[in-house]
Symmetry: D3
Amino acid sequence: MTQITRPDGRAQDALRPVRITRQYTRYAEGSVLIECGETKVICTASVEEKVPGFLRDSGQGWLTAEYGMLPRATHTRGDREAARGKQSGRTQEIQRLIGRSLRAVFDLEKFGPRTIQIDCDVIQADGGTRCASITGAFVAAHDAVSKLIADGKLEASPIRAHVAAVSVGLYQGQPVLDLDYVEDSACDTDMNVIMTSEGGFVEIQGTAEGAPFTRAQSNVLLDLADAGIRQLIDAQKRALGV
Amino acid sequence: MTQITRPDGRAQDALRPVRITRQYTRYAEGSVLIECGETKVICTASVEEKVPGFLRDSGQGWLTAEYGMLPRATHTRGDREAARGKQSGRTQEIQRLIGRSLRAVFDLEKFGPRTIQIDCDVIQADGGTRCASITGAFVAAHDAVSKLIADGKLEASPIRAHVAAVSVGLYQGQPVLDLDYVEDSACDTDMNVIMTSEGGFVEIQGTAEGAPFTRAQSNVLLDLADAGIRQLIDAQKRALGV
Amino acid sequence: MTQITRPDGRAQDALRPVRITRQYTRYAEGSVLIECGETKVICTASVEEKVPGFLRDSGQGWLTAEYGMLPRATHTRGDREAARGKQSGRTQEIQRLIGRSLRAVFDLEKFGPRTIQIDCDVIQADGGTRCASITGAFVAAHDAVSKLIADGKLEASPIRAHVAAVSVGLYQGQPVLDLDYVEDSACDTDMNVIMTSEGGFVEIQGTAEGAPFTRAQSNVLLDLADAGIRQLIDAQKRALGV
Amino acid sequence: MTQITRPDGRAQDALRPVRITRQYTRYAEGSVLIECGETKVICTASVEEKVPGFLRDSGQGWLTAEYGMLPRATHTRGDREAARGKQSGRTQEIQRLIGRSLRAVFDLEKFGPRTIQIDCDVIQADGGTRCASITGAFVAAHDAVSKLIADGKLEASPIRAHVAAVSVGLYQGQPVLDLDYVEDSACDTDMNVIMTSEGGFVEIQGTAEGAPFTRAQSNVLLDLADAGIRQLIDAQKRALGV
Amino acid sequence: MTQITRPDGRAQDALRPVRITRQYTRYAEGSVLIECGETKVICTASVEEKVPGFLRDSGQGWLTAEYGMLPRATHTRGDREAARGKQSGRTQEIQRLIGRSLRAVFDLEKFGPRTIQIDCDVIQADGGTRCASITGAFVAAHDAVSKLIADGKLEASPIRAHVAAVSVGLYQGQPVLDLDYVEDSACDTDMNVIMTSEGGFVEIQGTAEGAPFTRAQSNVLLDLADAGIRQLIDAQKRALGV
Amino acid sequence: MTQITRPDGRAQDALRPVRITRQYTRYAEGSVLIECGETKVICTASVEEKVPGFLRDSGQGWLTAEYGMLPRATHTRGDREAARGKQSGRTQEIQRLIGRSLRAVFDLEKFGPRTIQIDCDVIQADGGTRCASITGAFVAAHDAVSKLIADGKLEASPIRAHVAAVSVGLYQGQPVLDLDYVEDSACDTDMNVIMTSEGGFVEIQGTAEGAPFTRAQSNVLLDLADAGIRQLIDAQKRALGV
């Protein structure tokens, strides 16, 4: 890689400092504050002993997610979606992605007829909120599952692997890992990558904001993401003490 | 007063521990985390250089508030209002109250054609969220005003006095200050009292949940509230260093 | 009290003329037109032999209320809430208050698994619509209960006491009873007081529109309200012939 | 016609008693209570000195209408449309019809850049509410125009003719005029007819609820309607004193 | 009739060319493209083995309809109703009319506890879309019924007669059949007529856009419509091969 | 590749037959029916001589897209989004993708202060509707631009390259091109790939429905997509005669 200077001085392949605080709020079965640099998201996992209609009598469980952002999580205040009366397309896209990503590592048939409801609420946004949400939500869901096992409601964990997410992109023509808001606003290509601890891809979403990108660029970005996700999964493991 | 034992062992006239953290998030002109025992609310004050339509060309400023609760701020998960597509009556009632209370100590004619938008988002709820929101929002608004003065956009502060709020109620027949969730759910009478640092009432909202209450009881409750609010205003002053 | 001249020449402690017409419309189990001066509200009580979900199988009954205003009940036409697609915060606040106030004098456990649905629709508004709604709705609910007893569906009345409401306020610095629209728009402090025939408070909602108010002022206002509510309850009794 | 007995004993060609009360509420420029038997509708006409966007700068005026029904105007309580968050298809169909019917007798080019907003709110429904709304709304609109002329804002009336509406139908195989709710629910064919004082049709809406109807039946019904509308226009004229 | 020249050169009593294509899409039980000149509507009939709540346990079936228009079916693009979040009054009026018209020829008691859901989606609009929808929807419903019979789910057809619709109007003072968009925009009186193959009226909706119309004019228009509908029913029969 | 038998007998690297019909409807500036096997989408491009608020006074143009599906485009009827009152998350995600993909090949600075509004309406769905929408919408947008040039409103085309989309996936463990509904429902990994005629990626969206996928699998899928998109772009060129 050609050397560029990133706005916050990081190396191109460096994550922002990650901090994962468990039991952040007291009522949820799993409650995590994840901080990726200045991006801060509260992720809770709530267990409900019921499943949505389309799974009734299937014996199978479910996991779903909602996402929100405090109006002043951002540089300029955004509308409160509850006041406006609907969630934006962006919000719905993100919450569908979070749910899909976590379900990829859950064996829902072994979870019994219950639902894990993930809530990811961004209290400060500096880029990468959907990725931080996924990485944090996994830890919250893990805690919720551990509680079910500890309470004798579940025998074995339905979690097959860790899952985490990171963004990569081409900034000033160069591949960089874990873009902050300044980089994200100025990058040519932005890619969100979601992988499991077993190394497979759960989701790749790459978008050319400016010029189209090539296969070679895509592969360099995926290499960066792969390395970043390994570190994020390590951070999850340290937080969980596993 | 007859002596009763409160669920958390507090004296009847004792507030829960109050903690006010300024500059809690980084983008808002004023950003406060207020903790009243286990109740935790993020209060931000955003300055917008415009006023709503009904004040156009009046020269006067405005202050308004919105309120929300993370779905899992509570014992059992509540619906996300943004997903349901509307704010509940309770939410609207509270955000109207917050706005009215703060406007009571603001000289909006001296504020210029700008708006302070307050956002109070409850991240953990253990009773008294509307009162904590008002007490915390005052500090956030104060910071936003100080920033306008420091930036040379405002000459003098439009803030005439401090304002704070506390709940009082009759629990097991006895008057108590600053009810937590357990007390609030079981109390006979619940009163939210909002006062200024000059000692006047901005708002009294007393509701008999069970048996109606008498004038004498009302006066005892107002005495308790008065003493509690003085302490809350002291906490605001300590936090602000004034 | 210092003597002031009220816009309509009333004494400071005088109610507007109250007129309560029962059986105003023909289908509702209770149907009342209440006129407080120029404020006119149709209050109906409808009995439904079911309860909301949260009371299912509790054996207990329920009472709830909705409130509306014809678009041209006011000086200038307001939006029709049905056309706009949502009820305002003010509407929701008022209908919650009406329901709470009536439930305070109802022994819902003795009411059986049925619901009284109150509808208060303002056809002409000259201040005090929420208070007139409560005072009128009580009479409508009383008629609905009498009908249930007459029809042999209920043995004894679940109504424990009368309930009525009145506004008081500081107008030109002086305490006045039962504010009309002109006074309400110009007053410093506005207080809605709801009491039962046994003299206790069900709800006190006092708001400083301008300068904060003192305990002494609050007590003078509550005295005025107390006397006014006695007269309103007398009017209810005369209307009901009890 | 074969002789049948109508539920309320009326002759087949008899209207229900019509009563038109002007100045029913005090703020609207025109305010009418129209009673057709037990059907009672408050019709107000509000003048606003502006026109909708599609007429801006056209010099032309506008007239539009909204319609509502109090929840307990009917035998069993209906949903409040404001609470449900949308107007039903029936409501929208009726309010479009009211507006169209009144515009048919208004020369909007002579009305100047202002709008008459009609509101028809049914306080008691016993069939024929849309027809009563049109007949009453005409009187309210007439009063609003007279006020504009009296205030010197308008030189000449833009009203070209009276307009009124009535329902006719086939009940037990026989043509009847002005159906009440019982007849309306049981009739085979239901026709709403709207005519001007000059005798032309503004709108004919005939619907076969059961068996299709013939041209001959249609012509008998239109004869009945024609006679009924003449009487309704007489009632309008008597009410207006013209 | 006086001779006028219609914009597309048709005789006053001439329909536009009608083309009915069955099995237009592959999944619906009945799927028809109807083209009336440049007006093109896709009509599908879907069979669902359930009935709405108000018919539960009645043994009876149901038929209902929805209507939509692609945003660019018209000269200038209209809002997408799904994006705007509600259907217009016009849309609701039309879909209620379609459902009512088809139910008029269906013996729903003989249909069993199932629902035919009609969808009429206009892909190109040149006037007369509601009439084309009804005429086409009948064919789609007929196909759906034939499939039920072929599948052994229904013994005999619940369809009592054909139903079709056409518009007539006064254009340049003269009666014309089957108005296109240019004529419809400029006509004085517009009438939608819906008849069965047995010659009776199911619905007549006549509206004076300009001057009121007379009984004589109405009868001439109904004659025109009658002749047009016979031709449309012939077209239905040819398409169905019956 | 291992040989598998696809449900419709295609080779693994074979597209379904593509048919692009221009000028499918008559009013839109560009109107295309695209058929990819049994998937059929009407794509229109409407030109509006205005831009959204955030581009006002920028001199720049805009392109945006909306997407819908007729209720019975699918095997079982889906809700009509206009009737339900909101667009699903899936719909919003797709329409955002269509807009982003087309903007990637438009030089909006050279387009002047106007907007191309794309509408993609699926009339029959057999998998791959979002990809067919993008491929077809490009042709509609191209026609709209050509019309602007022909009308002298635009000097040069702002279109920099063709853009087309295709889905690829792992079906029964093997990579296949252009999945139909049966394959899409059963596949392990599903990838939507959007490329320009210059060979770069505009968007890659890969999702593991079952087991995570590897880099090697991803590269095989991208090869398949690349070849498929070249054929789709050829089809666009043939249709456009360029």
